[in-house]
Amino acid sequence: MTRTALAALLSHWRRRPGQLATLLMGLALATALWSAVQAINAEARASYDRAAGELGLSGLDALVRPGEPLAVVDFVALRRAGWLVSPVLEGRVAVGAGPPVSVLGVDFLSAPPGALPAGLAGLGEGEEPALLFTAPGVAFAAPALAERLRQAAPAGWPEIRADAAVPPGQVLTDIGAAERMLARPGEIDRLLILPDQPRARPPLAEVAPGLVREAGREQGEIARLTSSFHLNLTAFGLLSFAVGLFIVHGAIGLAVEQRRGTVRTLRALGLPTARLVALLLAEVVVLALVAGAAGVALGYVIAAALLPDVAATLRGLYGASVPGVLSFDPGWAAAGLAMALAGALVAAGQGLWRVARLPVLEAARPRAWATVSGRALRRQAGAGAVLLVAGIAAPLVAGGLGAGFALLAGLLLGAALTLPLALSAALALGAARARRPLTQWFWADTRQQLPGLSLALMALMLALAANIGVSTMVGSFRLTFTGWLDQRLAADLYARAGSGAEAEAIRGFAEARGAGLLPTAEVEARLDGAPGTIRGITDHPLYARSWPLLSSAPEVWTRVARGEAALVNEQLARRAGLAPGDPVGLGPGWALPIAGIYSDYGNPRGEAMVALPALQARFPQAVARDFGLVAPAGTGADALRAALVAETPLTEGAVIDQAHVKQISLAVFERTFAVTGALNVLTLAVAGVAMLTALLTLATMRLPQLAPVWALGLTRARLGRLDMARSSLLAALTFAAALPLGLAVAWALLAVVNVEAFGWRLPMHLFPRDWAVLLALSVAAALLAALVPARRLARTPPAAFLKVFADER
């Protein structure tokens, strides 16, 4: 019996392979987007954890000699005095035609094991110490770079080993090989202070006068800074998953409806309800597992495709090093499968419930999904209103990113729930104005279909609103960011000095040429208790002219130049609740009043600006290494750049012109939102599929409603066209509802989520042209989705219409 029943139930899919494909595709897509986001997040988190566990080179305090490299004798003197330090030599070197390669040289013997990338295979089993420690040495690079270097490495370079643990673009090697690669024999950039030091050591000033201790970057900072980014991704993943579930719900609902006859027959033949439900449940589970597996595989592909962008974003925005290669983690694969299963069960719940309660003797009339009464609609809308209010209240009651997302979730879900009522009201309005019978029927019939389409329309609205919101946010950000870059990058050239001699050369050059010079120095410090950067600047009229200040006190630049006040960036001001006039702590025993607050997009950390001499009085290691140069009248930036490279020891790579910096910044910006954009498009596509499945579901069930209209003389082709018109109308109405919602979402993103996540607030710009495109797209999608059922309707044989009247109903 069971086998027969199973065969009977499954035969449905054999007869409707398209429906099976839709179901599987919907579930697979939903799972894929969700798993892709999870995979990316998992990869990033794993790499942060590794970084935190490893300390990393930047996590350790280090000794430096301000403005000059250290020498091997410094290392030896400290070591012999009982200071456990480990040398680091860094630099960039040109190789062949590609971009320059950054070389990181450490002493493989004394480097703390945690400071090197975990899983660096070469340092574990199987590497000859003799090869590592003696010429020519061994160097490790990410596979792509290793391949490039093998073909283009200059003579005398160490043997290059591919190792995915090394960050892209970097070559990690022993300091003995690095000093040759960089042509800097005997030099050391910094001496890492190892975590475990012996009991008693002489004070640093006695052992190595002139060296300065630099604080390491705080651990866990990356994870803290990037959490908002990952929350963003997760939110998108969930949204896609929810939209995907609408498809599954539609497809399963359709399958249940179409099998009512089979189900009734099976029940009449004596199959117990429990067994029947168990069979259908098993079917759903199997389908979910198959689709889930496909979804996880697809998700892996999507994640692998998106990960390089995500990695670039994280590196550009936060300095977090995430490998561009995805590793397979059974954890998220299992989680993806579980999500697919849970989602399918939720989506199938309603259908199964109906089957369980189906009276055996009920007539097997196909009918549209339960006609939802006005009261049910109002109840749903009421719930939606509650969600809307709760969402709006969230940021008022609680702070933090969580509240921001609660606001978004409340807005989206609440609006989605109220949508059917709103559409119903709009259609009633239309019906009231209709005079001709056909028009009246059109409005009434559209309203009649609303319950069946409402889920798909809700999905469409969610996708549209998210799309409008996100693209408004990104567009506003892009406009603001570009304008801000123009302001902030006022100098023509930016040069970085590798040594005190190079810095002197730049100063001499600027003086000789009459070029304006803006030296800056940076130190890591604790700003109001949190890690951040203090930038030392020199007085120059260019700052007053161009530096983007959001708010300021009188005489801001004069007071900063005199060392009496500091500027802080927006992030720091928001985080610490600072306003011009408040004091800001710049380190132990040093606080200055705030003269102004500047916007600092793209920088997740707190930053303060003070006069360079004031900074150097507190931090002797603050030596100006970065220089902005303003070309004198009559000289172009290119000419100045060429002269600078020709007349000073600076290399090409050390001098960047303004246009290039802008280009790099914008590229980072674009990459930041590339992932968001991709997910956006995918979500919209999923919503389109949801619409299609909903319409397909309805089309087969609407015959009884259409037959009388046909009998009254309307041609099948006309009926098909009317159906297409109906779809467009609903899509347009949905868009009309989605637009204000999308703008609300954009506002929430700009004014709440961004402020919480990044610490900056952006002005909102509107992009009506994008809306027109989106409207056209959604109507087109609805037309496309309606096309298949409409054509099918147009080709339905008249006999089928007649049978509606003949069949028992």
């Binding site: 004798v73 002493d107 013997l109 300091i175 012996p198 009991r199 008693a200 050591r201």
Partner: protein, 425 residues
């Protein structure tokens, strides 16, 4: 009972690397404590049984001091190994170890720069303090070419970081001394049997001035030894009260029937006085110390998996050095040197000394003998050695057991025991 303080975690990467590559260092003693790592059975332990092509082979040429106090980079491995049996005011037995190992990664290249990161020499130092209750150990690593570690024969200084075994007040050279170059004064003297007593150099003898860089004695006669770690430190002065002693045949010590050998001499006559700085406080100590110097390129046969080594200060003023090399293929190879109170050595070849484990203790997942019977009938010695602290485990990149022992039986006294190559079960 486990040591109260967990052993410092070895730098796993290097540990496994060295162990797997069998290149290294070692006191003939050390191999890596990678959990589950089998003893390097196929090659003898710590690679000391591996082929030594390209390196110098030990010969029977006379040792010349102070030159031979310095490093011999043409040989693959070398060590300066100091152990001290100390007592505090309360009469507690305490132990101290200070060891500097040199390991060549490849034979020196005569044309290469002498001071650079890439000089193929690696140094490793071990320091330990043992009390009846606890055993504290630490290690350091250094590259050979930059001056972070090295040995200067006279005035004597052996160092790695701030760990130092050196003549008092000696400044260190700015960088590593050029390995293998003769001393500027060209001094040095063959420590052959030409002067009585045979086999011993009469350091400090008034009739032999100018043999060393220091006034009237050997460069090793007066030293201080210091080391510090996170949880302990020590600073101890050493004064030699007897001559250097050449082990084996005039400093040529045979390690297997096939003739594997090393150059080996000792200064077993130190009086020690100083301070141990332990977590519970500073402890003033006095006692006796023993310095071993040994270098070779292939000291073990490839079937020899580990060894048990003793250095005993007997209350009669006699000293006994002995070792037993355990062999997978045959009976252990033993060797011993009896040292009379005046420094006269009497070497004994294989079989004269019998070392018998009496009782084992569970140490770091291994069964390690911590009570021994040592018999040297030729000298009427039949003693029982028992560990002051059975948990004297050097849980370092190369793990082994090394700690002080009490001596009972035909003779009383104190000494040091070292055991290597005991596998995790």
């Amino acid at each position: 009972m486990r040591p109260r303080r967990p052993a410092p975690p070895p730098p796993a990467s290097f540990c496994s690397k060295y162990a797997s590559r069998r290149s290294v260092l070692a006191h003939g003693l050390a191999f890596c404590t990678v959990p589950g790592a089998a003893p390097l059975a196929a090659q003898g332990f710590a690679g000391l049984g591996t082929e030594a092509s390209g390196y110098a082979a030990p010969d029977r040429s006379p040792l010349v001091f102070p030159r031979d106090h310095g490093a011999h980079p043409a040989f693959r491995i070398e060590w300066w190994y100091l152990t001290a049996n100390l007592t505090d005011a309360a009469g507690r037995d305490l132990g101290l170890q200070w060891t500097l190992f040199r390991s060549a990664l490849r034979p020196p290249d005569p044309g290469a720069a002498e001071a650079s990161w890439q000089v193929p020499q690696i140094w490793l130092a071990h320091a330990a303090v043992t009390t009846p209750e606890r055993h504290l150990a630490a290690e350091r690593f250094a590259r050979g070419g930059v001056g972070q570690a090295g040995v200067r024969p006279a005035p004597f200084a052996a160092w790695l970081d701030e760990w130092r075994l050196a003549a008092p007040g000696a400044d260190l050279p700015p960088r590593a001394p050029t390995p293998g170059t003769p001393l500027a004064d060209g001094s040095g003297r063959a420590a052959t049997a030409s002067s009585a007593p045979p086999g011993a150099t009469s350091t400090g003898a008034a009739d032999d001035p100018g043999t060393t860089g220091t006034s009237g004695g050997d460069a090793l006669d007066r030293l201080t030894v210091a080391a510090s770690a996170e949880d302990f430190a020590y600073d101890v002065a050493l004064t030699a009260e007897g001559p250097l002693v050449l082990q084996g045949e005039a400093g040529y010590s045979v390690k297997s029937p096939e003739g594997q050998a090393s150059r080996y001499y000792s200064q077993p006559f130190y009086r020690a006085e100083g301070v141990l700085r332990l977590p519970e406080g500073d402890i003033a100590v006095t006692g006796r110390a023993w310095l071993d110097r040994e270098w070779s390129s292939q000291p073990l046969a490839d079937t020899q998996d580990g060894w048990d080594w003793i250095s005993l200060h007997l209350d009669t003023g006699e000293k006994l050095m002995g070792f037993r090399l355990r062999d997978r293929a045959r009976a252990p190879f033993t060797s011993a040197t009896h040292i009379a109170p005046d420094g006269t050595p009497t070497p004994y070849s294989d079989g004269a000394l019998t070392l018998t484990p009496l009782r084992t203790a569970r140490v770091a997942g291994r069964d390690v003998p911590v009570r021994w019977r040592a018999e040297l009938p030729a000298q009427g010695i039949d003693v029982t050695l028992s560990a002051v602290n059975p948990q004297a485990w050097m849980g370092l990149a190369f793990a082994y057991w090394e700690g002080p022992v009490r001596i009972e039986g035909s003779h009383a006294g104190r000494g040091y025991l070292e055991m290597t190559g005991y596998a995790v079960e």
